[in-house]
Amino acid sequence: MNRATLADDFALSTRRAPWKTFVLEAHAGDDVADALNDVFGPGRVRDTDDVHLHEVVDDVNFVVDHLDDRFWSLHTTAPTSVAAPFLKGIVESRRDLDWMWLPSDHLRGVWPGVSPQWLATDFTSGRLTPPTDEVADLKLRVRGRAAESVLQLVESKYSKAVSFSGVAINVADDDLGSVAEAISRDGRFVATGDDFGLHQTVVRRVVDRYRGFVEAVEQRALRWIQFPDGGAQPVGAPLVLRFGRSIPDLGLFLEQLFSAREPFRLWGIPQMAGDDFAEVEAVDLHVGQQLRFDVTPDWLRVYLFEGGCGNTLARLASNLQHHFDGALSIVDPEIDVLLKQHAR
């Protein structure tokens, strides 16, 4: 097994069934093979010709490509209905693996010059707000060349309830070939076509855009540089999410956001420091890291500390887009640009 045989497998298998690539964010340390054995269990991970490719033989078989040591690609031809729950069980039981949490705009334009053939939006205010919102739930599936235009029409009036959850595109290149890709907001790629390299390039572009956001957030994490004779210099700053709508019931919002429930999995005891201001020392249970929040009806300040994972903010922003405000922004303009970047 090497990249050439993987490419052959792609070309052969996609005639029968789509190819699936799941991207996981991993904090595996230096020895990825060891980490894979820890994740899937000894005896289930096999070496290949390529040190960055491993085969996993388990209830679902995967080929794990960890050339990118932070964002692993797990390839399989198993049905999504089998592979996704299998990986969900693994990701949930660990603190060193997570999904990608693509911000809404990252799905809006995946490939320059290519219009989506299918777009899905998914907004469910659920328990974060009373079910009396102007638009409490909005799910749309639009198929066809005008998919984007249709959603832009809805967005022009109800942008706060439009949050992209899936996209499908056809990418063709005179030299490389063509692939059809369907991509979900949690980094699931379903592909068919004749060129594995092009499929990998599509995956890589989405991952690189996401990585840019996550790493910029991590550079803002608060840390302290100690002086030799006492004192220290703080570096970094909290990040503020600004809402396009006010939180209608701050108490309810806080109670639900910090309830340890999926998808946020934030644990905390909000302390009201005024009618419209709460301080929360919280834990991100996805990764077991401590965070600090200040919350008002119009904005939410997040303090990420040294060593904190940028995926935490990506997850929060992405899930708030899907459950509270599809039009939220980040006050720091350099980070906001990365939240909203997409290919044109």
Binding site: W224, D229, L250, E262, P270, W299
Partner: protein, 316 residues
């Protein structure tokens, strides 16, 4: 003061706009009759201007401390805060006091008694106002010419110090315990807990740090007393340098739903629920939700009670 120098926040940052950056916090500097610990050192590198800031949360100015601020020389601060000087020329230093608006009169009186003439910023709920001496930096004088509107509380970069009340440590220690618990560790030392709960611990000198450790120790003990089903406090011994908190149960050992419930029960034991405003139409809308759910049952994935969303999370 740190907030006023923090770029990219909803809180205004006039110092950052004028070209200052936060160069240090809790920086000790020896002067002729003792030491002054500067709460915040702000530095404008293109003009070599240093602001030595003292933040007063109370009403009283310590006159000795204020006099020492008056004795500071720019180059002492350059050395203490490891400032990088890139422009040739004189260095300038100005002390700056920041206080709460309700303490302004007392602070101004205290500064008057100590003979320190410096700008004072009074922080209120809605605005910040400049009082007392003018800023020597004309850009700051302009920035604070009118009251500066603020949208709410500033960032809490240093939420507690060694003089903070005990209760302030309880809200920091419990999340640190929960974070450790989520990693399925069997116990955590109070020292490790302090480093987790107080990321800014390194800012403080040895004496303040030891006082902070003692407060964290007490908070850990209180957490264990409140929730003995989850935490056990084991005091320091001859062979153990720091007290330890042992985890009696781990939420991570439970199945998915049970796990969330254990985490929620830890929060319930520790704190009061947030005050909640009732929206009158909630019950009516919940009934409506039930009707829709009934209607869609044949097509939808069963509701997952573990998700924020009423319909589960995309079937993941």
């Amino acid at each position: 003061m740190i907030a006023l120098c923090t770029y990219g926040d909803v809180y205004p940052s006039p110092f950052a706009t004028a070209g200052y950056h936060l160069a240090g916090a809790e920086v000790p500097v020896a002067v002729s009759d003792g030491t002054v610990v500067i709460d915040a050192v702000l530095f404008r590198p293109n003009r070599n201007i240093i602001l030595a800031g003292e933040a007063k949360s109370g009403t009283n100015v310590e006159e000795i401390q204020a006099r020492r601020y008056g004795q500071l020389k720019p180059d002492q601060v350059v050395i203490a805060a490891s400032l990088i000087i890139r422009e040739v020329g004189d260095r300038h230093l100005q002390p700056l006091y920041v206080c709460l608006v309700e303490s302004l009169e007392r602070v101004l009186q205290g500064l008057g008694r100590s003979g320190l003439a410096c700008p004072v910023l009074a922080v209120g709920e809605d605005s910040i106002e400049h009082h007392a001496a003018p800023f020597t930096d004309q850009d700051l004088q302009t920035a604070f010419a009118d009251p500066l509107a603020v949208p709410g509380p500033p960032p809490r970069i240093i939420p507690v110090d060694d003089e903070s009340p005990d209760a302030a440590f309880d809200v920091l220690v419990l999340p640190a315990l929960v974070a450790t618990l989520s990693h399925q560790r069997s116990q955590v030392s109070v020292l490790a807990l302090a480093e987790q709960a107080l990321p800014h611990l390194v800012v403080f000198g040895t004496r303040a740090r030891n006082r902070l450790l003692a407060k964290i120790d007490l908070a850990a003990r209180r957490a264990a007393e409140r929730d003995p089903a989850t935490f056990e406090y084991l005091r320091r011994t001859g062979t153990r340098d720091h007290a330890v908190v042992r985890f009696v149960r781990s939420p991570e050992e439970a199945a998915r739903q049970g796990r969330t419930q254990v985490y929620q029960s830890i929060a319930r034991v520790a704190g009061k629920p947030v005050r909640r405003r009732r929206t009158p139409s909630v019950d009516q809308m919940a009934l409506f939700d039930d009707l829709i759910e009934e209607l869609q049952q044949a097509h939808e994935v069963p509701e997952d009670s573990e998700t924020i969303s009423d319909e589960g999370e995309e079937g993941k």
